[in-house]
């Protein structure tokens, strides 16, 4: 039984291992092993570069978000989003709900850099009420909510389309919103159904 549990726990780790080992194997099969070491030695540098960009924007936005939290602005946001959040999440942790409201609003406005620190704070708060070593259904649903990337105006995409000479860069705006909403809808349904089935199954 224990070994079965352990196997289940390793999706992410298994995935990571698979990516590395499979890539090395494929490259070795092609014969040019030196490429692997080249990538290995250059990867930390690009990892640091990527991390620095992420970290600095997290730090900047954490500052502004904390101002919004301390001034009580998020309380208003949270009250506005309460019906929606209450419908989806079981948690009654006010702090988690406040950061959630910030995360949702930031995502919607296209401030992805601001949404990340708020989302991480949510996970921290949710983790406080979850003593187990597996993700609670609230945590899972919240991450799914964030992977759906609901955004009012996909600015980066419009810019890029414009740059490549599109005659109508904004034509994709509505389809993008529609498709992500469909994704979100199914994400919520899947999460709710699976968590309910699992709970019943455990009883």
């Amino acid at each position: 039984m224990k070994s079965l549990k352990r196997k289940k726990s390793r999706t992410l780790k298994a995935f990571w291992l698979f990516l590395i080992l499979f890539s090395i194997l494929v490259q070795a099969f092609r014969g040019d092993i030196s490429k692997i070491t080249n990538i290995l030695f250059s990867a930390p540098k690009s990892a640091i570069e990527i991390f620095l960009t992420i970290a600095l924007s997290i730090i900047l936005w954490s500052g502004f978000l904390k101002v919004a939290v301390d001034s009580g602005l998020v309380k208003i946001l949270q009250r506005l989003l309460k019906p929606f959040l209450k419908l989806l999440f079981n948690t009654r942790n006010v702090k988690a709900l406040e950061w959630m409201a910030l995360n949702v609003v930031a995502n919607f406005l296209g401030l992805g850099n601001a949404a990340t620190p708020a989302g991480i704070k949510v996970m921290e708060e949710l983790s406080k009420e979850n003593s187990k070593d597996f993700a609670s259904s609230d945590m899972i649903l919240f991450v799914i909510l964030n992977t759906c990337s609901i955004q009012l105006i996909p600015t980066t995409m419009i810019m890029l389309r414009h740059e490549y000479g599109s005659k109508n860069p904004t034509v994709v705006v509505f389809p993008i919103l529609f498709v992500s909403l469909v994704g979100l809808f199914f994400g919520i349904i899947f999460c709710k159904v699976i968590s309910r089935v699992l709970r019943r199954w455990q009883k």
């Binding site: 590395i20 992420i54 597996f134 992977t147």
Partner: protein, 174 residues
Amino acid sequence: MAKMISDIIITSFIVFVLIFSLFKSTDSFKSFVEGVKDGIRISIRIFPNVFALILAVELFIKTGTVDMLGTFLGPILNKLGIFKETLGLIMTKPFSGSASYAVLKDIFARFGPDSQIGIYSSIICASTETLFYVITTYLAQTKVRRTRYLIPVAIAVDFIVLLVAAVLVKGSLK
């Protein structure tokens, strides 16, 4: 135009937050510094996970393993109605934002942003997330070791997005 909208949103968000704090006469400087401290702590804690992920992704993309897997999956996706030319994008998007944008630019350059493939790529690229990156950073902050049904659901949702977008594009652009 779009750049202007995003600039306006960001600037007005910050101005709004600061002015609200001024009205409520809270110490915005102190709050900001507190937030920065929190941000530094968060960043340091996610670093090991992000580092590990990037290492794997670099190997996966730069050795060309992505493309190899793509040629296997191509015919299957084609049958489902998903354009096989967008496979590189579909495969890189869950792992890396910057890599997927490079692939998208390549698609735009080859097929044009207003072609069926160009429109499809725009839609799926903007309505899916770099989900392994999100999962890694968000879970780094918790004690969670078992993610249960999180990854299967995330992948299923991505897949639905790919299919719905394909139906939408093929139905409206002939």
